[in-house]
Symmetry: C2
């Protein structure tokens, strides 16, 4: 007799349905080696055995490289879609990174794109034939959005009789289709979205494919894991406290958290929708900076401000891109043309040895290039104003009981209108303070301008052990400021060099616990990244600088 | 024995102090004729008697015209400042429109500007030597900000020991000084700012100088009255539900309510600060469209986004200005190049006869030009979420009891975090609906584009009888949408043509009461204006179109 609660049964059924959506020929029959035997499943050491050379060629080309082939008719949309569907299916079997699989619809869409190209001899748009993965917050016709809630199964955002169920598409989805993208899967999230790891009762736990002892990060964790396994050339996540940047960093990817209002959030599911002290934003993740830029710029070309009331009328600004490229060029003869601040810690926590080494590598790179460096930061938070009510409502739909640490509110943290207004004022005051601090660096840089960017860690650790993520302090200050941040992958944790310091001085208890959590053996091989933070709406400049710095780190 | 409460005494003392700040030679000694004898005190029929021909010449030049003289050294900043100080002093004695007078500081500033010009042979900035008036929400060094609260006297926003008292300046004030503007007075507001008339215990009631039976409007009412009397060539008000547009319309002025994020609100006093469902915005008022544009564009040149965290990085976009001018040019040979919607009522209230006639005049003008026309609207509100607590706190400082209708919340309207979030979602849904409606007009206009603008009333009445303003429905929908709106003055109420219709059909009780409130005799001579509403961030386009339409109305 089955004594488990119904929501567990429902979750297991959905879990099985996801696996059942994988075509028989793409299933991995042989047992998958445990993490103890094979940490990294991303490359030739393992996943390649299931793929044809052609599939490897396609899936190991970056998004920009793919669109060069598909928009010129060299590669068909169908062969590209099939290759990524196959690799995504493998990825899911390895690390449980998918919530929805709709490969058949993708192939049909790809066929239509190929037919269009055959007839018109030109692509539908700049993303013609490019597979794009989506975090399970975006509504796509014909498939569910559960966002990890068992209670959302068979509903539209928890409402069973909502006519939009299975029909409605989010604005970003509409725009991606108009750009020629092929949609084929939706990726895993932590239930409530308020966590830096990815776990829910449906997919259970999404592991880090580069080191399967560790988490893929969150909340856009499925995106991070899938793209790291090259089951997707790029995709879209969301970020309210670090949810794009943490998985980007944990999976050795570039990831952009734009300022709010650039990528349309209209029609996407969300937690605590309407909370507008700190807005969640959408941004792309991909293995290369140029691919992140491609996705971002392509969406802007759709003029989202005519379709999303919260989007700002800011097209991609070529002049800023060109100015930034000119600065980089000039800096080759006069390195003081660019200057960066580096923040080694946030006054509360010091990063683990691999992350600290990553920061030093970036600093050395900038020093080699002659760009200057400084230091600072602070933080804040505001996701608990509803006292956790939004999450309680949606858990209540199924009765499920969350089993993972979530950054949601407690009853006693509930706020009223006047208290929320006070929080908004406090946030604005913090923003103003930080703005003036940034302005003041003009007196230090020698460029005549304030620093061009701030380099800092994304998290204290290089990926994280399960249950170990509890510090968004390195990312959430960017959300409070609504600044631009681009994650730049740097290196990998290496147990032979990243030894814990004998030093026993700590900022405090959080720092002590963080340092105690470092285990050189377990973290070995985990990705290390930094974020390049720019001011509000500086996406054009930061993407160009991130590409420059990323390339120079590899040259270094 | 004085039995009145202390706050009444304090208010009377402050009222007297404002009058005492007027130099003896500028005081009006002869009795001022009552409204029954002389409605309109704005022109040669009355105010000119107190001014020299040179003062009349200066004060009856618009802001752009003044800067042409001051930035080229033809007029000194001192003579311009003195002329406006004099006329502002007269204006205040006629209609009680000033909260703060600091003429001495203005003359000192003007002397410094003249010295700068003499030394460098160039102006400090585009507003060199231009007097600019400010609503009493802006902090200016050396003077108080009471915002009409007796309890704010001698404090900084109600805090007695705040070191910013008398020292701090709002960001806009800093930018205006950097542009070369001369600051000399702050204008009256309704206490709490939440009213469409201007009354508080300090200045008591600000009358409409064009028709002293009527209100000057609110909440930027002092601005409207002062500029109508040409005691200022232009100034800045704020608008959360119509507070720039209502006084602009009631005083026959152009007024711009920009989308939020263009003019910096940083460091200005406000009601319900931190309420961010609907943001109050700052915008200019002036007698000519080109002067409104001058003030708006000048502020943007200061790059407020580096000084106000809520400001958006959108400089004045010359390309949009040029495109709009090109559209207007093209429309001369092909009138269908531009199209406008006209809304005669909002489904709840029908405007009074003078306002309806104004709308017909605009429609005839557009028809004459060949530009098309349509219709629509809705509304909403969200200023009551704090249950009136913010106002109660500030009234509580002095114990004063408000005696005018205020649009503030009742205790039972207080909302919590989840309810505010739901309100934010509802607002966004309304915005999206309206956006799609606007998009859909592309199928009707014949231009291949949606309508270029929507023409509608600003209020049901042409100015308003005291205590009669209770309907922000014509303006507040623009705040909910965060759209751009420019008020265009059209004509004046005329008792010989604006007769009440015999028709007795009403939309409902509000409409019936509004229609019953019309009195052709009392309203005779009151200004009539319309607003030209454009989409979010379309300030460049709307300012150019407003200038075009305004000029054509005069030509018509």
């Amino acid at each position: 007799m089955d004594t488990q609660p119904e929501w567990r049964t429902l979750a297991a059924e959905k879990r099985q349905a996801i696996l059942d959506a994988i075509p028989q020929q793409w299933r991995i029959d042989a047992p998958i080696p445990p993490a103890e035997e094979l940490r990294d499943v991303t490359g030739s050491n393992y996943i390649h055995q299931f793929l044809t050379p052609r599939e490897i060629e396609i899936t190991e080309t970056d998004a920009l490289g793919i669109t060069e082939q598909t928009t010129s008719g060299n590669w068909t949309a169908v062969e590209v879609a099939e290759a990524f569907c196959h690799r995504a299916a493998l990825a899911h079997q390895l690390v449980a990174c998918l919530h929805e699989i709709f490969f058949d619809a993708a192939i049909e869409d790809a066929k239509r794109l190929d037919a269009y190209y055959a007839k018109h001899r030109k692509p539908v748009g700049p993303l013609h034939g490019l597979p794009v993965s989506l975090k399970d917050q975006f509504h796509v016709k014909g498939v569910e959005t559960t966002m990890g809630y068992v209670g959302w199964m068979g509903t539209f955002q928890g409402r069973r009789d909502d006519l939009r169920r299975g029909e409605f598409e989010s604005e970003l989805v509409r725009e991606l289709r108009a750009l020629g993208a092929v949609l084929y899967c939706k990726t895993s999230v932590p239930v409530t979205l308020m966590a830096g790891e990815t776990a829910n009762h449906i997919i259970q736990y999404t592991w880090n494919p580069k080191n399967r002892h560790l988490s893929c990060g969150g909340s856009s964790g499925g995106e991070g894991a899938l793209i790291a396994l090259k089951g997707s050339p790029g995709g879209f996540g969301t970020d309210i406290g670090g949810s794009i940047r943490i998985p980007a960093a944990f999976n050795f990817l570039y990831g952009l958290r734009p300022s709010s209002g650039r990528i349309p959030y209209q029609g996407a599911a969300n937690s605590m929708d309407g909370q507008n002290t700190i807005l969640s934003v959408i941004g792309p993740l991909a293995p290369t900076a140029r691919s992140v830029k491609l996705l971002f710029k392509a969406v802007l070309s759709q003029r989202p401000w005519y379709h999303d009331p919260l989007a700002v009328e800011l097209p991609w600004r070529d002049d800023i891109e060109q100015e930034t490229r000119a600065l980089i060029e000039e800096s080759k003869s006069d390195p003081t043309k660019l200057s960066f601040a580096i923040m080694y810690h946030n006054g509360l926590t010091r990063p683990h040895p691999p992350v600290a080494r990553g920061l030093r590598m970036v600093e050395r790179t900038l020093e080699r290039l002659g760009h200057k460096a400084n230091a600072d930061l602070q933080q804040s938070k505001a996701f608990t104003a509803d006292g956790g009510e939004d999450a309680r409502i949606h858990f209540g739909l199924s009765g499920e009981v969350p089993e993972w640490p979530l950054l949601i509110g407690r009853e006693d943290q509930k706020k009223n209108a006047l208290e929320i207004a006070a929080l908004n004022v406090k946030k604005r005051e913090y923003q103003k303070l930080y703005m003036e601090y940034w302005n003041s660096t003009a007196e230090l840089t020698g460029t005549g301008r304030p620093v061009d960017g701030l380099i800092c860690a994304v998290a204290p650790s290089a990926a994280v052990t399960p249950g170990g993520f509890n510090d968004v302090g390195f990312t959430s200050f960017v959300n409070v400021l609504d600044y631009t941040s681009v994650v730049i992958p740097v290196t990998y944790a290496d147990k032979t060099v990243d030894v814990a310091p004998s030093n026993n001085e700590f900022f405090g208890e959080v720092d002590r616990r963080t340092q105690a959590g470092y285990d050189a053996e377990i973290y070995d091989g985990a990705p290390v990244a930094v974020q390049l933070v720019g001011r509000r709406f500086q996406e054009e400049k930061m993407l160009v600088l991130a590409e420059h710095i990323g390339a120079e780190i590899r040259n270094g």
